[in-house]
């Protein structure tokens, strides 16, 4: 999948918010530097650009402009700068950038794009700093720059072996002009990139000192929680807070934009108060919506032609001329993000300023929203990005930040807002429900001649961003076809279309987004075609990938490491899948057993080609993470709708995968010096089809609906 031709969902946000443009400009405008040079400002540290500050004590502060939600950006991004700067890693201190409209470029964290989009800019930033330090040292020694080199945070003069630590060069380097051009290292010269550098955030995450938004404490702060209308599209009719106000510690109950706020002296008081408010909701038009009606709507929409997202050859004719036609319908449900940390935010709105601590994936948008709510100019809104207790796309929506700002403004006090788990689960932006209609044609030799795939699903863009200008042709949401239209298989006639099926249920970016459902449908269906062609599922795919070396590469690697051509242990069966997303190529082999109604996934072998690996341990962790997240959606919970509401409320009815259900996961990385591509999401899409295909190998039964239920298994 060529990155540049893919319109990713968050590119859309970038275009809309116009924040992306700042990056390159911000980089090479070292305003402070010029002020220093002009003697207007005196400063001891050397800050060649917004990412780097070299301090006189020889420590180096590297700033991270993306949100840390577990994916490791507070380690991988500084590693990229540090390598080009030739720093000693022990010098490095990491600081989190607050929101700023353009200083750090786009701060939107998602689309598995932190490393892939910052790879070159951060390397240039590091190389620029290094070049200036080199220049400063050579001037001080009055030697030719070519006689000097950098190593472990110091400049060394080869002949005389003189050495100057970067920290000793801050004043002189700050006076130098920024070089217009710098050369970057070749992959063989990397000293930090490619190493298993331990994550910088681990020590604080094991002793309880890591600060999440929920842990912020400011003087005079009160606590709040919200009650949102349980029916999507409904609204508040009336409420009676008399009982709630009698509870000790409850301070106030009032209406906000999205429901009610309960303000109290402690979190627990606010939760108790929340339960005691009597509320009458106006159910609106959605009060009788349920999952079966949504399914019926999807079925009826699926019968109509969709907007074409990919067309090659003439699939309709090729199907009619096929020796064998296979067809199947696949279904995937709504899914909740269920981050372990429920939505929360601290806000302190004053007359002339506003401070916010938010676990957000979209800090610039949150800052903008807060400016609008408070009426303050944007430079008076300070938004600090805390650690995120999981993101997975949920925190690209800032509804919880707006809540906190609105409440603090109203009560003129700092407030810590925390949603109860139940509100978090019932007021998410869900992974869209989807229905997939597939047809495939084979000729008499078992070659695939045609493939059609109609994706029927709500559009995230057209239903959750209605206020945004929409850059797509009407009704064709290309994002909804990610992972469906870009199948790498060499099939002469392909038709992929999209039928929009919006509902009142809010939908959003759920880890790997539509790739999760589209890969499930496509990769299971390819398996069906292999069976119809009487070919081995691995060999069958490999043949179809003759023009796609990187897809074929990971497929081959996963097959080999899993022992695909050897017999699995008795009672175990293997399924294979491969899928490219967010620029990376991933293949997985799942080994399962099916006994009566007990399906167990014992082992998953995963191969990824994400170009140059920045930190192997983090890439492997992201594969493990994507697989476990994907297994929850394959084997465990789903979100269903009853009477316009989400039927699930907590982990008893929306179960997540547990340690005893977690397979042994082996991850193999393709050695590559191609530019790095995504890792946060690409590990997820292949797991559902790999497991479903393994169930078929075990039982001869096709799984066409997620999550896999006992009734789907042969023993039931």
């Amino acid at each position: 999948m060529a990155e540049q031709t893919t319109i990713s969902r968050r590119d859309f946000i970038k275009v809309s918010s116009a924040a992306g443009a700042g990056l390159v400009i911000g980089f090479y405008l070292p305003a402070k530097n010029r002020l220093l040079a002009a003697g207007i400002e005196s400063q001891k540290s050397f800050e060649p650009n917004v990412w780097i500050a070299i301090n006189t004590d020889n420590s180096v502060t590297l700033t991270v402009g993306r949100s840390e939600m577990g994916q490791g950006v507070r380690t991988s991004l500084p590693m990229i700068i540090a390598d080009e700067m030739d720093l000693d890693w022990s010098q490095v201190q990491v600081s989190q950038a607050p929101a700023h409209p353009d200083r750090y470029g786009s701060q939107s964290t998602g689309s598995s794009r932190s490393v892939r989009t910052l790879w070159t800019p951060l390397r240039k930033a590091g190389a620029t700093a290094r070049e200036m330090l080199l220049e400063a040292a050579s001037r001080q020694w009055m030697v030719n720059k070519s006689e000097c080199y950098t190593e472990n945070g110091a400049v060394i003069h080869s002949k005389s072996e003189r050495k100057l630590a970067y920290g000793d060069l801050t004043t002189s380097a700050a006076k130098l002009p920024v070089p217009p051009k710098v050369s970057l290292k070749s992959a063989e010269e990397f000293t930090i990139i490619g190493k298993n550098i331990p994550r910088t955030d681990t020590p604080q995450k094991v002793d309880g000192t890591a600060t999440f938004a929920m842990d912020i404490e400011i003087p005079g702060m009160v606590h709040a929680t919200v009650v949102r209308c349980p029916i999507f599209g409904g609204k508040l009719k009336s409420f009676d807070s008399r009982k709630a106000m009698q509870i000790d510690g409850v301070l106030d109950v009032f209406e906000i934009e999205e429901g009610l706020a309960v303000v109290a002296e402690s979190t627990w008081n606010s939760f108790e108060g929340r339960k005691a408010v009597d509320i009458i909701w106006d159910e609106g038009a959605t009060g009788d919506l349920d999952s079966s009606k949504i399914d019926e709507m999807l079925i009826s929409r699926s019968k109509k032609k969709g907007a074409v997202g990919r067309k090659a050859g003439n699939a309709k004719r090729a199907l009619s001329e096929s020796a064998k036609i296979i067809d199947a319908v696949y279904e995937a449900p709504f899914q909740a993000h269920a981050t372990m940390e429920p939505m929360c935010c601290v806000a302190d709105v004053r007359n002339d300023m506003c401070k916010i601590w938010a676990p957000t994936q979209l800090p610039q948008r949150a800052q903008k929203d807060a400016a609008k709510i408070t009426g303050l100019p944007i430079e008076k809104v300070e938004l600090n990005v805390t650690f995120l207790g999981g993101g997975f796309g949920r925190r690209s929506f800032n509804d919880f930040v707006s809540d906190a700002v609105e409440i603090s403004k109203r009560i003129t006090k700092p407030v810590k807002l925390l949603w109860a788990r139940e509100d978090d689960m019932q007021h998410d932006y869900y992974r869209p429900v989807s229905r997939h209609i597939l047809k495939g044609g084979l000729n008499e030799h078992g070659d695939v001649t045609a493939l059609t795939h109609r994706v029927v699903a709500p559009s995230i863009i057209f239903s959750s961003y209605v206020t945004f200008p929409v850059p797509f042709r009407e009704k064709l949401d290309k994002v909804a076809l990610e992972g469906a239209k870009n199948v790498a298989y060499n099939i002469p006639n392909i038709l992929v279309d999209y039928k929009m099926a919006n509902t009142a249920i809010p939908v959003g970016w759920w880890r790997s987004v539509y790739d999760s459902q589209n890969a499930f449908a496509t990769e299971c269906f390819i398996d069906e075609l292999a069976t119809a062609a009487e070919k081995d599922p691995f060999e069958f795919r490999l043949e179809l990938l003759s023009n796609s070396p990187r897809d074929a590469g990971v497929l081959h690697l996963a097959a080999e490491e899993s022992g695909w051509n050897t017999k699995p242990p008795i009672g175990r069966y293997r399924g294979i899948s491969c899928h490219a997303s967010f620029g990376s190529y991933v293949a997985q082999v799942a080994e399962v057993s099916v006994e009566n109604d007990d399906l167990r996934v014992h082992r998953v072998v995963c191969a990824i080609d994400c170009g140059q690996v920045v930190n192997p341990s983090i890439v492997k962790a992201q594969m493990e993470s994507g697989i476990v997240y994907g297994l929850s959606a394959t084997l465990k919970g789903e979100i269903t709708i009853e009477r316009g509401r989400v039927a699930q409320s907590n982990f008893h009815d929306f179960p997540l995968l547990r340690i005893d259900e977690t397979p042994e996961i082996e991850v193999y990385l393709v050695n590559s010096s191609e530019p790095p591509t995504g890792v946060g999401e690409p590990g997820l899409p292949p797991i559902a089809p790999a497991v479903a295909n393994a169930v078929f190998a075990a039982s001869g039964k096709r799984i066409r609906r997620l999550p896999i239920r006992m009734g789907d298994l042969p023993g039931a």
Partner: protein
Amino acid sequence: MPRFILTVNGKEQSVSVAPDTPLLWVLRDDLGLTGTKYSCGRGLCGTCTIHLDGEPTRSCMTTIEYAEDQEITTIEGLSQDGLHPVQKAWIAEDVPQCGYCQSGQIMTAAALLRENSMPTDSDIDVAMKMNLCRCGTYQRIRKAIHRAAEEMRRG
């Protein structure tokens, strides 16, 4: 409001709250011990796990009244320097991702290792299966527990 005397991490603390207040909120909101996190509020996920007289306990489901006469240990008090063998093993295996559930995971693992110095994989499953991790760090948790057990046996 009744007053309760608690022993938290070896120190006596006094708080005035309603008797049915969950220990979790007393720790976080009254005593400023924010290493213990809230996630489900119903004893379903293990995120808020602390030790009561050494036993792993869900602080979101434990009332202050019940906790009063027991030794309470939180992640802040698990070790003097943040380097309990379990914490060291967590660092060595690079376990945490978002990190939000990890205090609870570590408290549960530390309690397991006090009872069982050589846990098998299935012992780990039994002890840890009520602790959810949405980032899916389970495999590294398993490795880290084996590593910590080995270190503790070596003394």
